[in-house]
Amino acid sequence: MISITRNIGKVVILFLNNTGNFFIFFTKILQSFFKPWYFKNIINQMIFIGYFSLPVVSLTSFFTGGALALQIYYGGNQFNSEAIVSSIVALGITRELGPVLGGIVVAGRVSSAIAAELGTMKVTEQIDALKTLSADPISYLIVPRIISGIIMLPILIIFADIIGIMGGWFIGIQSLGFNGSVYIQNTIDFLEVNDISSGLIKASFFGFIITIMGCYQGFNSSGGAQGVGKATTNAVVSASVLILASNYIMTNLFFAS
C-alpha cells in the first residue's frame, strides 16, 4: 500500500515538476520574442520546416483525399449520396484531415529533428558555448524555430488542402466515373472561407505545438545518446497528443455554435 502511494506521489511530483519547468521555459521564450530576431536562422528554419516537409505532407493528403472519396462513395452509395462526395471531401480535408494529418506528419519529421538537434547540442555543450559567446540560446535557437513553425504550417496546409481535394478529384474521375469539372464546381460552391480559415488557424497553432515540444524536449535532454533518443520520442509523442487534443478543443470553439 505504501509503495503504491509512493509511486503515485512520484508520478504527481514528476508531472508538476515538468509542468512548472515547461511554463518557466515558455516564459523565457516570450521574453526572448522582444529581443532582436535572428532573421537568417528564421529563413533557414522556414526552409527546413516548410519546404522540406512539402513532399511528405503532399503525399499524405493526396492519399487521404483519395481514400476519403472512396469511403464516402461506398458508404453513401447505399443511400444514393454520390453527389455529396466532392463536398464532404472538401470539408473533411480543409476543416480536419488536412491540418491534423499534416500536423502529425510534420510532428514526426520536424519535432523529432528539433529535439535530436538541440539535444545533441545540449549534451555536447554547444548550448553552453553559445552562452559563453554572448548569444542567448533561446533567441538564437528556439525563437526562430517557433516563428517558422507558426508561419510555415498554415502555408503547408494550404498545399495539403489543395492536394487532398485533388486526391479526391483524381479518384472520383478515375475510379468512380465522376465528371471532373462538375466535381471541382461542387467543391468551390460548397466550401466557405470559414472552412479554410479555421483549418489554417489550427495549423498555425499546431506549428507552435510541434516546434515548442521539440525545443523543450531537446533543450532539457540529458544523459548522452540515450537522453537524446528519449527526448526525440517524447517530442513526437507529446506533440502528436497535443495536436489531437487541441484540435478537438478548437473544433468545438469554431463550429459548436
Partner: protein, 245 residues
C-alpha cells in the same frame, strides 16, 4: 582577478561544491586538479554563470558577479572558454565557428572570414580548413579550432576544461604549448581544470587541488612534488592506495 568565496553547489541531494574558496591572480595561469567527479567542471561552470550556486560569492576584478544567490551582468569583462569536447557548432563552417562572436556583433562577412583565418593560423591551422565543417576535422584539430574561437574574442580571462582529454600525447603537448603561448600573447588570466598531471605541470603557474568539493591544497607548481599532503601525493603519483577512494 577572480575571487571565489565559500561556494556551494548541490545537485538534488548531492553536494558537489562544499565551500570552495579560491583566489586567482591577474595574468597568472592556474590549474585545478582533482579526480573525476570532484566538481572541477561544476566550479568552472559556476564561474561562467552556466550553473547557479546555492551559496557563496564570486568576484572578477573586484566586482561581484555572483552574490546573494544571483548573477549580475558584467559586460566589460570578456571570458573565453575551451570546452572539453571542443563544443564547435556542427551546423556552421570552421570560419563561422571561429568568428561566431564577431558575426553576432554585426561585423561584416569579409572581416569575420579574414579574422578567422588569422586566428586559425595562430593555432597552427592553415586556411584550407576554413570552409570545412567540424565533423570533417580530427579531434586534435577540433581542439585547435575551439582554442582559436576562444582567443578570437580577445578575452581577459580564459578557461580550459580538460584541454588534453582524448588526445594522443603529441597532440596533447601541442595543445599545452599553444595554450601557454596564446594566453601569454593576449595577456589573459587563465584557469584550467584537468586530471592530466603532465598538462598541469606544463601549463600552470599555480596548482589547486579540489577534493570532496573543497580546495584541499594549493601552491606553486614547483612545490607540488615536495608536498606531504597525502591526497596530493596519491593523485600526482597515480596510486590506487591512499586517502582518495
Amino acid at each position: 582577478m577572480i575571487t571565489i568565496e565559500n561556494l556551494h553547489k548541490y545537485f538534488e541531494n548531492k553536494k558537489v561544491l562544499n565551500g570552495v574558496s579560491l583566489n586567482i591572480e591577474e595574468g597568472t595561469s592556474s590549474v585545478i586538479i582533482g579526480g573525476s567527479g570532484t566538481g572541477k567542471s561544476v566550479l568552472i561552470k559556476c564561474i561562467l554563470g552556466l550553473l547557479t550556486p546555492e551559496e557563496g560569492r564570486i568576484s572578477i576584478k573586484n566586482n561581484f558577479i555572483f552574490e546573494n544567490g544571483k548573477f549580475k551582468k558584467n559586460s566589460k569583462i570578456k571570458i573565453g572558454m575551451l570546452f572539453q569536447g571542443g563544443a564547435l557548432f556542427d551546423s556552421l563552417r570552421i570560419w563561422q565557428n571561429v568568428s561566431f562572436y564577431n558575426i553576432q556583433n554585426g561585423k561584416n562577412k569579409k572581416f569575420c572570414f579574414e579574422d578567422a583565418i588569422l586566428n586559425l593560423e595562430k593555432v597552427g591551422l592553415s586556411s584550407d580548413v576554413v570552409n570545412l565543417y567540424p565533423s570533417e576535422l580530427s579531434g586534435g584539430m577540433q581542439k585547435r579550432v575551439a582554442l582559436a574561437r576562444a582567443i578570437s574574442i580577445k578575452p581577459d580571462i580564459i578557461f580550459f576544461d580538460e584541454p588534453t582529454t582524448g588526445l594522443d600525447p603529441i597532440s596533447a603537448d601541442v595543445i599545452n604549448k599553444l595554450i601557454i603561448e596564446k594566453v601569454r600573447d593576449i595577456g589573459a588570466t587563465s584557469l584550467t581544470i584537468t586530471h592530466d598531471m603532465s598538462s598541469a605541470r606544463t601549463i600552470s603557474d599555480k596548482i589547486h587541488m579540489l577534493h570532496n568539493g573543497k580546495i584541499i591544497w594549493e601552491g606553486n607548481k614547483d612545490t607540488i612534488e615536495s608536498t606531504d599532503n597525502p591526497f596530493v601525493v596519491q593523485f600526482i603519483n597515480g596510486l590506487s592506495e591512499g586517502p582518495i577512494n
